[in-house]
Amino acid sequence: MRWDRLRVPVAFTLVGPAALVSPAPVFAADYLTADQAQTLLFPDADRFETATLALDAATSAELQSRLGVAVKRSWELRLARHGDALLGAVAADDVIGKFERITFAVGIGTDGAVRGVEILSYRESHGQEVRLPAWRKQFVGKTAASRIEVGEEISNISGATLSCRHVTLGTRRIVAVVDALRARGALR
C-alpha cells in the first residue's frame, strides 16, 4: 500500500494518542511544594516556623478598601529564621488566572521588601509565562509603598495578561498584609 494512503491515519492514530497517553507525573502542574519554595526564597534560613496570624477587622477592611480585593483576616505564614534571627516571612496564596487556580508564594524580608515570588502550581492552557524568572524578578525589592500593578511597576506578558494581573494583585495583597502585621509587631 502506498505511503500516500497511509500517512493520514498514521499521523492521527499514532501521534495524537501517543501524546495523550504518554506517562506523566501526577500533579504535573505542581512545580514546587511550599517547602521547596520557602527554601528558594530564604536560602540562608536554617529553619522555618509556621505561624497563623490574624488581622483585626478594621485593618482587614482598610486593606480591602485600599487594594480593591478581598482580604481574609487569618494568614498562615512561614517565618524564616537563622539561629535566633528572623529573616522574613513566606506566604502562599491562590488566585484565579483566567479560568483556573494559580498557587504562588511570596517571600518578604524583615524590611518589608519582597525577596521573591515563586509559582507553585499553574494549570491554565495559556499564560504559563508568569513562571518565567525574568518576569517574577520584577517583584524583588518592592514594598507596600511601591505601585505593584501591571502597567505601573510591573510589565505585562503578551498572551498572559490575566495571569500577570492576578498574580500581581495577589502579591500586592500579601505585601500589604505582611506590612500591616509588621507594623503592629506581630512578626517576631
Partner: protein, 406 residues
Amino acid sequence: MHRVITPSPFFRPLGVVLAVLAAALAGSARAQAEEPSSPPPQPAAPSSLDAPSGSAAEPATVITSYGELNVNRPISSAASTTADLRRFVLGLQHRFSPVMKFVAELEVEHAVSSAGDRGEVEVEQAFIERQLGPTWAARAGLILMPMGLLNEHHEPTVYYGVERNFVETAIVPSTWREGGVEIVGAFENGLTLQGGVSTSFDAQKWDAASTEGQDSPLGSIHQELQLARARDLGAFAALDWRGMPGLLIGGAAFVGGAGQGQSTGSTPVVALWDLHARWTPPRLDLSALYARGTISNTAALNTPRVGNPTLIPAAFDGWYLQAAYQAWTHGELALKPFVRFERFNTGRSYAELGPRLTPAARPTESVVTVGVNFDVSPEVVIKADYQRFDVDSSRSRVDLGLGWSF
C-alpha cells in the same frame, strides 16, 4: 448674536450610544472606587481574582464566555449603518484529572442562525489537553493555530479597536482552527515552542464568482473541521520568546496541501508564515506584525475559472504597526487610546496564465485606525474608533463596540 454648538447629525446617535454605555457601565465601578471611607461590611473583590469563597476544592467544570456587540457607521453611507451581535461565545472547560482537561468554545455569529438568516453556529475549539511534565503539554482535537498575535488570544478585551485588525483576518484567517495534534513546550528561558500536524485547506472550495476570496484568500478555503477533506495534511510550528519582561518576539509557519486529492494537476500547497513583536513596558503597548501567504500550483486551478472576478492568488501579505497608551486609570477603569497603521494585499501576485489572462495584482490597501479602548473592568470593554481606508475610501467608517470576556 450667539451660536449654539451642537454635535453634528452624523455623530449624534453614536455619541449618545457611547455616552449611555459608558455612564451605565462605569457607574457601579466608579461608585466602588470612590467610597473607601466607609468600608463595606463584606469583601467586594473582583470575582475573577479569588476562587469562590469557601470552596474547598477547585471546580472541575468551568463555564466561560466572551462576545462583542459592534456598530459600524460608514462615513459615506449612513443607510449602511449596522448594529450586530458579532459573536457570542460560550466556553466549557472540564478537568478530568490534575493533568488532563477538555476545552471547548461554541460560538454564535450575528445573533440568529437559521436557513433564512446570516448567522452561523460554530465550534471554535474542542480539544483534550494533557500535561506531559513541567515543560511539555499535548493537545488533540479542534485547536487554534499558533499564528500571529491575535489568533489564539482573540477575546475583545485583549485587542485594540472595535474590529480585529485586517492583517490577522485577511491574511491570517482568524479565528483559524484545524483538527490536529499539537505539542506545547514552555521553557524557563522564555521560549515557548508549539508544533504539530493538522488538517489543511481545500482549494476546491474557492468560489471564483464571489468576492470572498478578495477579503481573505485562506478564509474562503478553510475547512474548520466541517467534514474536512483530510487527504492532504498540514504541519505547523511557532516559536515565541518572552525572556524579557514586557517583550514578545516570535514567528510561526504553516505548510499544508490543499488539493485534497481533487486537483488534476500538481497539488496546490498553502504556506503561511508570520513574524511578530510586542513590547508592553509600563503604560505602553507597541506591536508589529508581518504575515505572508502563498498558494503554489494555482495556474491549473485558475485556468478553468478565467473570466470570473476572483481568481486564486499566488501570494498575499500584510503588516501593521500599533501603539496604545494607558492614559488614565481609576480603580478598574482604564482609558487606552491607540493608533494602528496597516497595509495588506490579498492578491499580491497571480500565477502566469498567458497574455491578457493573468490577473493584475490587486491594489495594496492601507488602513489607519484611531480609537480608544475604555476598560470598565478587566472583563468589560467599551471601544470607539475611526478607520480610514486609502484605496477603497467608501469603507471608511466609525465603529462602536461593547465586549466582554470571563
